[in-house]
């Protein structure tokens, strides 16, 4: 009956005491209080140490990115043509030339399918693997990982760049929410919120403040013998802001100009670069959100050029191509790709027929998701959509299956039970199936 503890992301189950019916306060030893959940490991795969989720917010068109239909009628085919890739038989959109060179590293699922075509609901489904429920907010991948892999690392376990995604910690509570970087990594003066010293408060003064604080807390500790948190929130924050190493992980300005240029000058690329730095420094889960993919109208413009009259395309796809390809090759060159799972996806695909405003609307019945690294065999396409990119033709994969597989790849047992605040056990994943091709 080993219910996993409803722990904090730092592993101390403060909320034990709040668990319904668990009135066994007495006899609770300190050893119990500081017990941390067992490190989930094993399962099939589980090679990935960390994960970078590139979230293409709004629902990217599968027909303009990873699943083109050159033989379909013009109103389905759309404005762009496919190009060959380094993998024979695998074609991608012409706006993804850099990604095409790395096709040998990609696993593309072209038969993703979901019934949910509204942003909020679909977000939740793709980011948690659970259908949204009116009674329970499920935790997203990063929060589950924070919960199941509490480290004593100086860096937070889940960082969201630049802003958080639609789904957060859900019932795991605020302690498993992501650490939000904020700001715009593409700006020259970009800094992560509250990581830098306040003006005129240098390390020496911070050291003094810590010393003074200890003086106050010793007075307090004299009153209680209930041990204060061995590793308090203050200690963690203090270590983070005073550890040069940890702070450097967040500091993009330390990257050589050539590397920064490689990722492209825009927010998405620089966010990818920051994600790479964090993963390199040991952060288990980083999300990068790339907004604007909800292309109901003028799809060609927003996907390709970005603005009318642009000489070089700075639309969504070229921006993605640059950042994504730079991230994969950079990780690969550093020997990190094999232990870093990279996923690019949005909440659904787009309607097969281009609408009267030159856009495509929401289409969850079939869409594509791309994975690389983390031990996933590359150079493959999983499943297929039909002739019009309308429905899965074979091997349909649900977001639930994807969740099951991602957790497995990340070494989290999908059957592991989490606990809601009111004591309801909820498995990490329910009813999903493993996508064998990815392991």
């Amino acid at each position: 009956m080993g219910h996993p503890k409803f722990g904090r992301c730092d592993g101390i189950s403060r909320r034990d005491c709040l668990r319904v019916g668990s009135l066994s306060a007495l006899g609770l030893t300190l050893a119990d209080r500081f017990r941390r959940p067992a490190f989930a490991s094993g399962g099939t795969g589980g090679r990935a140490k960390s994960c970078i989720l590139l979230w293409l917010d709004g629902g990217p068109s599968h027909l303009e990115t990873f699943d083109l239909k050159p033989m379909a009628p013009a109103e389905v085919r759309g404005p762009f043509r496919p190009i060959a890739t380094s993998v024979s038989g695998m074609q991608l959109c012409e706006l993804l030339p850099e990604t095409a060179k790395l096709a040998g590293k990609l696993a593309i699922i072209r038969s993703m399918t979901s019934p949910l075509g509204e942003h909020g609901l679909a977000n939740h489904y793709l980011l948690t693997g659970y259908h949204p429920s009116p009674v329970l907010r499920y935790p997203s991948y990063g929060s589950v990982l924070s919960h199941t892999r509490p480290g004593r690392s100086i860096l937070p376990p889940y960082v969201a760049i630049p802003e958080s995604l639609g789904a957060g910690a859900g019932f795991l509570g605020s302690e498993c929410e992501p650490f939000v970087a904020g700001g715009d990594p593409a700006k020259p003066d970009f800094r992560v919120r509250d990581l830098d010293f306040f003006p005129e408060v240098d390390a020496a003064r911070l050291g003094r403040r810590r010393e003074y604080l200890e003086a106050f807390d010793q007075v307090q500790a004299g009153l209680e013998t209930a041990a204060p948190d061995a590793d308090s929130e203050f200690d963690r924050a203090y270590r983070l802001v005073t550890s040069g190493q940890a702070k450097r992980a967040f500091d993009l300005s330390l990257e050589p100009e050539a590397v920064r240029a490689r990722y492209g000058p825009r927010t998405f690329g620089q966010s990818c670069l920051l994600a790479r730095r964090l993963v390199e420094a040991g952060v288990p889960f980083v999300s990068v959100s790339h907004t604007g993919w909800d292309t109901h109208e003028g799809l060609e413009l927003s996907l390709k050029s970005g603005y009318s009259g642009a000489k070089i395309g700075v639309g969504l796809i070229p921006t993605f191509d640059l950042g994504f390809s730079a991230l994969l090759s950079d990780l690969s060159e550093r020997g990190l790709l094999d232990e870093t799972l990279v996923i690019a996806m949005g909440e659904f695909g787009r309607t097969p027929k281009i609408n009267t405003r030159g856009g495509r609307d929401h289409w969850p019945r079939v869409f594509s998701v791309v994975l690389a690294g983390g031990g996933v065999p590359g150079g493959q396409v999983i499943g297929a959509s039909d002739r019009m990119g309308e429905s899965p033709l074979d091997n349909p994969v649900t977001p639930n299956d994807l969740a099951h597989t991602l957790y497995t790849l990340l070494g989290v047992d999908p059957d592991r039970e989490l606990q809601t605040a009111d004591g309801r056990p909820v498995p990490v994943n329910q009813g999903g199936r493993l996508i064998r091709e990815l392991t």
Partner: protein, 706 residues
């Protein structure tokens, strides 16, 4: 001492089921499936079933289950000629591959029962209703641990004589390391404390409480000071558990605590000094009266109620929130009973820009949201589970949930709040329009007026429901935890730490006209509330029986205001200019610092007890952000002014201690601070003093309510 006598009497009267009577599906087969876990949410009880076989969650719908077992899948689940070949038996025993492993033993009674039921032709049987279900156990537990305790569960059908259903009851321990179910009828207790075992039989769930004393000498608490029934009850439980009591808190600690709990503010220095100097034995009583009449009390409890009622601004209608919050504050100022406030919430109609309480139903989108808010606020109960299936741990059924929603279905939630002639919600169980219903009690008739019926149910028929939910929240406001936790999840299977005390407080609340001040006064003047937080060797592990005081972090808004008060630099908020964070009842007002400190960010409200302390982002903000730092460097702030006035380190240290910690520093502390701060350099002195105030504001002494 074992008290078996009560059990023995009952045992004599218990009948065994008549062996000749055919097995009854609804009341005899379903418990077997429930015990084996077949119809649990993770298995065939899931909404979509498992492996093509679907059962209702925990057997809530026997007709559908009978159909599914006997007739679906071409009848292969039961094999009347060769019962052993039935899938219903072969799968769970592992005879055939089963995704859910082996859950039924061939030599067990469940197997035998299913066999004889199939042999008899798998009948549904005549309807039979469970009319009583009870669990009996020993009244008290001895000293030796571990100890095995026999249990007995009895059920009556159609009002008939009790039958022993112990072996058909599903027992679940909420903490298996303390209570383990050893066999059908024995639990093993292995740790001291209060423990709960849940017994489920058909749709009844009961909580069995075990109180296991510490392996210590009995404590004699008869001489402990007491002030009323709160102390009597708390001391009774403490002595039952053999927990010694910590000495009382000092006047200074008590004053800071009671000021924060009643008004959300630190005591002003003049008030602290006058109180500490006052030698009268009546001074605590007088102070409580002062605080209860303070403006801060009205602000603070308006804010608390606003959070429970989920006040938030509506797009383009600022008038609604204004009318609602002004009305709420007015009710608190005039000391209206909470019953009167509650009646208005249920019945008010009219222009919601003028009539404050008419906005109750506007804070939620629809009738279901209205029903959920109603059950949380009035009953302290989470009914949401029953939207999709009967609540697995509570008495709420889907009919209750949708019936309650139907009671609010005719409400027009536009600006003009009014009851329309029609309006319905669909009962997800039947896919028919739901019948308006008082949950757990009765359907409403066509001509009934739902708000009136609900009001009379709440305040005349079962007043304890609302009273319990409310006093439990008041208790939480004073102690940082409710007698039941979480405070919005009251149910039989989540018992209070002090059930008798909860009832006494509820009855007292009703008897005093639902006056929250009266309940808060009682709590504030109890010895229990006045306990100190010093830990004794014997009560280290106690975190819920009030043998000592428990410190808890200041809520984000209270902390922000306290920082502003101590630094002497007020905050500026969007829309309202300078003000106090506690006056922001609208969670949609953007205040980055509050978000970072961990306030509930959503208009939809948060589960009570879920509010975090903000974690790492909060700490980083306190460390490097401008919330504290900007205030410290301000020349208009308290520190800047005191330095400009030429005050000594000693004076400044003393003033900030008094302000922030509610006490004078000891001589030793003063001396130590003066040594730390001493420097000949003016600039250095300023920086050191800033660091001193910063440390004070970050210390546990300041950030916690002790």
């Amino acid at each position: 001492m074992l008290a078996f006598s009560s059990i023995r009497l009952v045992v004599l009267a218990i009948l065994s089921a008549d062996p000749q009577r055919p097995v009854h599906f609804d009341t005899e087969i379903i418990p077997v499936l429930t015990r084996a876990g077949c119809n649990a949410g993770a298995c065939h009880g899931a909404a979509a079933g498992r492996g093509g076989f679907r059962l209702s969650l925990l057997g809530a719908d026997p007709a559908a289950d009978h159909e599914s077992i006997v007739h679906q899948f071409e009848g292969r689940r039961v094999h009347p000629v060769d019962p052993e070949l039935s899938l219903l038996l072969r799968k769970p025993t592992g005879g055939l591959d089963h995704g859910g492993d082996v859950v039924l033993r061939e030599d067990g009674p469940g197997f035998e029962r299913i066999m004889s039921w199939i042999r008899a032709g798998s009948p549904r049987g005549a309807p039979r209703t469970l009319t009583a279900f009870e669990v009996m156990k020993e009244a008290s537990i001895g000293d030796e641990l571990p100890v095995e305790v026999p249990l007995r569960a009895v059920a009556s059908f159609d009002g008939g004589p009790p039958e022993d259903v112990t072996r058909w009851t599903l027992w679940t321990s909420t903490d298996p390391s303390a209570v383990r179910v050893e066999s059908d009828h024995v639990v093993k207790l292995s740790r001291p404390g209060q423990h709960v075992l849940i017994g489920r039989f058909l749709d009844r769930v009961v909580a069995v409480r075990f109180s296991v004393p510490l392996p210590a000498e009995p404590v004699d608490l008869t001489a402990e000071p007491r002030n009323g029934f709160i102390d009597d009850e708390v001391l009774r439980v403490l002595s039952e558990l053999r927990l010694p009591v910590s000495p009382p808190a000092s006047d200074a600690v008590w004053l800071r605590r009671v000021s924060l709990d009643l008004t959300g503010r630190l005591p002003a220095p003049e008030r602290t000094e006058a109180f500490l100097a006052d030698a009268s034995s009546e001074k605590r009583g007088r102070m409580v009266e002062t605080l209860l009449q303070d403006d801060g009390f009205a602000d603070f409890w308006t804010w608390r109620l606003a959070k429970l009622l989920r006040l938030h601004s509506l797009p383009n209608e600022p008038e609604s929130l204004r009318a609602y919050s002004v009305w709420l504050r007015g009710e608190i100022v005039r000391g209206a009973g909470l019953d009167s406030l509650a009646r208005q919430l249920l019945t008010a109609t009219g222009d919601s820009h003028v009539v404050g309480p008419a906005n109750f139903g506007r804070m939620v989108g629809d009738a279901r949201g209205h029903a959920e808010l109603f059950s949380r606020f009035f009953l302290g109960s989470r009914m949401g589970c029953a939207n999709c299936h009967n609540h697995p741990l509570d008495r709420w059924t889907q009919d209750d949930y949708h019936g309650l929603a139907a009671a609010f279905a005719k409400l027009d939630r536009g600006r003009q709040v009014r009851w329309l002639p029609r309006g319905e919600v669909t009962n997800l169980r039947t896919n028919e329009p739901a019948v308006p219903r008082i949950p757990g009690v009765r359907d409403l008739a066509a001509g009934d007026d739902p708000p009136r019926e609900l009001t009379s149910w709440l305040f005349e028929e079962e007043p304890r429901l609302f009273a319990r939910a409310t006093v439990n929240r008041l208790w939480r406001g004073m102690f940082g935890r409710g007698l039941v936790e979480p405070t919005d999840d009251l149910r039989d299977t989540n018992p209070a730490t002090h059930p008798e005390l909860l009832d006494q407080l509820a009855d007292d609340f009703i008897a005093n006209g639902y006056d929250i001040r009266q309940t808060l006064r009682r709590i504030a003047l109890s010895e229990t509330y006045g306990r100190g937080e010093a830990v004794l060797p014997g009560n280290v592990a106690d975190d819920r029986f009030y043998s000592r005081a428990y410190s808890r972090p200041l809520e984000p808004e209270v902390l922000m205001d306290a920082i502003a008060d101590v630094t002497g630099v007020a905050d500026s908020f969007p829309g309202s200019g300078f003000g106090r964070a506690i006056e922001i009842v609208d969670p949609l007002v953007p205040v980055t610092a509050l978000d970072l400190l961990g306030r509930c960010p959503s208009a939809g409200g948060c589960d009570e007890g879920m509010a975090g302390t903000g974690g790492l982002p909060a700490q980083l903000h306190l460390l490097n952000g401008d919330l504290i730092n900007r205030k410290l460097i301000s020349d208009e702030g308290r520190l800047g002014q005191r330095i400009a006035e030429g005050r000594s380190d000693r004076e400044i240290v003393a003033e900030f201690h008094l302000l922030g910690l509610g006490r004078q520093p000891t001589d030793a502390e003063l001396t130590a601070w003066c040594e730390r701060l001493a420097t000949g350099d003016v600039r250095q002195r300023r920086l050191r003093l800033e660091d001193f105030v910063w440390s004070l504001l970050n210390s546990r002494s300041f950030r916690d309510n002790h």
